[in-house]
């Protein structure tokens, strides 16, 4: 990396300050609005009330966060693995790509609201349908990212490798895969945020417990503060996952000239 493109130094904490400030700012404005406007807490509860609710319901929230995290992680792991394996297959067999890619696009166009109840009916109320739904929602961005990433490989580098007698597999491993990593990580960061949303949605369609169930029940009981408390927990969880993805990106391709943003 050319020295002027280095990110400013000062430790992650210091660099996170502006972000923390802006989030705090937004919360303060929201709190002030609720207090001044006197809007009904049934429509919009104050952040302070939401915080209080998180604290007082902490055990219930935690008990329901665990299944959601589990579904998210398992589903996302499945999704990334499947996307990866498929991307390799499609990359190696262009005929297969032309035959299957549109099918995957179609799989992606199926509206969740129609698919989720079916999944639940077919696979029961346990982890399986949630994992499958998370995978279904997140696997396509990964597939596109990988496919476009492969396509971004420099032809010169590929030709060089082939001149060395590299097999199709070696070309893939040494050129196409590394070239795809920036795209892969962009896709990873996009789809990890969808993963949690999908898990919660899957719970909504039928589950014993989970943040989706908390949200659904709180909503039906006219408890927007509890809805928002669950939302806050899910956001925090997504943020963590995103942070892990971003960290992974920094570790794996951060040294490259052209690294990811933020």
């Amino acid at each position: 990396m050319h020295s002027r493109y280095r990110p400013p130094r000062g430790g992650a904490l210091l660099r996170g300050t502006p972000a923390l400030l802006s989030v705090l700012c937004a919360l303060l404005i929201w709190e002030a609005y609720v207090r001044v406007s006197g809007i009904s807490p049934l429509l919009l509860p104050a952040p302070s009330q939401v915080l209080r609710q998180i604290w007082s319901s902490r055990e219930m929230l935690w008990a329901n966060t665990v299944p959601t995290i589990r579904a998210t992680l398992l589903g996302f792991a499945l999704s990334v693995s499947v996307a990866f394996i498929l991307s390799v297959l499609l990359d190696f067999i262009p005929r297969l790509r032309r035959a299957l890619f549109p099918v995957f696009i179609i799989s992606q166009t199926l509206p969740l609201v129609a698919i989720a109840p079916l999944m639940v009916l077919w696979f029961g109320f346990d982890l399986t349908p949630k994992i499958l739904l998370v995978a279904l929602v997140t696997f396509f961005p990964m597939l596109i990212a990988l496919a476009d990433g492969y396509a971004s490989t420099e032809p010169e580098v590929e030709e060089l490798l082939r001149s060395m007698g590299a097999s199709r597999m070696a070309v893939y491993r040494m050129a196409r895969l590394p070239s795809s990593l920036p795209y892969f990580f962009a896709g990873l960061r996009i789809s990890i945020t969808y993963a949690v949303v999908a898990a919660i949605f899957a719970e909504y369609a039928g589950a014993r417990s989970g943040l989706g169930i908390v949200i659904l029940n709180a909503k039906n009981s006219f408890r927007p503060d509890l809805v928002l408390a669950a939302v806050a927990v899910s956001s925090a969880m997504t943020l963590c996952l995103y942070g892990v993805a971003a960290l992974l990106q920094r570790l794996m391709i951060g040294h490259r000239c052209t690294g990811g943003a933020a």
Binding site: P41, G206, N217, F222
Partner: protein
């Protein structure tokens, strides 16, 4: 005319027949109202009323009590049915379910409200059971789940899902809540945004009377009302047998009118007893989510003030 929106509690069914008849017959127009029957969506009628999106909405009495206790400014203005149409149902072929106590440890397909637990637990416990069962929140998928055997039991509206199951030849059995320790209730009601009603008493009265006339018409002409419902519901109700069968049951079993009362009458005492029951079960929570430690005063939660005293001409 005045714009009024009504929210539904479920996809169009015979519980809504009065609304569609009034709409089709032009009685809303006659009353100077511009009425829109909002399609059923994932957002509850109670929520739509308290946020001002709708002025009226179809509610269940248990739902109404919980929402009002939680601070929603709702008021019941008409009773759609006079008696309990709710049933706890399960697969009739199952020998292991003979009485509510057998439900202990089984799986219930729920709709995501707290009163469900209170109601079912009461039924099981009144039969000597522990009242322990597992809830899977399925919402609109509950009946598919019951049919496919994924769950053991759920709640239904006997005049709709019950008729449907009969038509399909599915053997289905059920328990009447009131047989097992739950006070009797008018399962389905017409509710209103109380603030709006107070400010627009004339329009509210006109609306409720038009709806009352609709249900009155359905009482007198069930077949014609069924046809109107089929026609008005936008192509969703393609099974005429279901609609007609349901209308016939509503009329035959006296769900739509009690002798000596006008169509649409709301029984405040019945509501008060149901409220007491929910309170005793700890199913009523206040605006902050705390379990109420004092039964609120229920006066004014329901009113017959907007109804015509006798069933209007149909």
């Amino acid at each position: 005319g005045e714009s009024v929106a009504v929210a539904l509690d479920w996809t169009p069914n015979t519980n809504h027949v009065g609304l569609y008849v009034a709409q089709a017959k032009g009685w809303f127009d006659e009353a100077g109202l511009d009425v829109e029957i909002l399609p059923y969506t994932d957002t509850s009628a109670g929520a739509l009323m308290s946020s001002g999106v709708a002025q009226f909405g179809i509610l269940s009495s248990v739902g109404f009590l919980s929402q009002r206790a939680a601070g929603a400014d709702l008021q019941v203005v008409l009773g759609v049915v006079q008696h309990d149409t709710g049933r706890l149902v399960f697969d009739g072929e199952r020998d292991d379910i003979q009485r509510p106590a057998d439900l202990d440890g089984m799986t219930y397909a729920g709709f995501g409200s707290e009163w469900e637990t209170a109601l079912i637990r009461t039924m099981i416990q009144s039969d000597g059971g522990a009242g322990e069962f597992e809830t899977v929140t399925l919402g609109t998928s509950a009946y598919e789940a019951l049919a496919s055997g994924a769950v053991d039991f759920t709640l239904e509206i006997v005049t709709w899902e019950g008729v449907h199951a009969d038509l399909l030849g599915r053997s289905q059995r059920g328990f009447v809540y009131a047989d097992w320790g739950v006070p009797p209730q008018q399962t389905t009601l017409l509710g209103a945004d109380a603030g709006w009603v107070a400010a627009n008493a004339d329009a509210a009265g006109a609306f409720v009377k038009a709806v009352q006339r609709g249900y009155g018409f359905a009482l007198d002409h069930p077949a014609e009302a069924a046809e109107i419902l089929i026609e008005q519901s936008g192509g969703m109700l393609t099974d005429p047998d279901l609609v007609h069968g349901s209308m016939e049951m509503l009329v035959r079993d006296g769900f739509l009118k009690d002798p000596g009362e006008p169509v649409g009458h709301v029984d405040a005492d019945m509501m008060a007893r149901l409220g007491q029951f929910l309170f005793d079960s700890g199913a009523l929570r206040g605006p902050g989510g705390q379990v109420l430690d004092e039964l609120p005063d229920l006066t004014g939660w329901v009113t017959n003030a907007f109804l015509a005293p006798e069933a209007p001409e149909t």
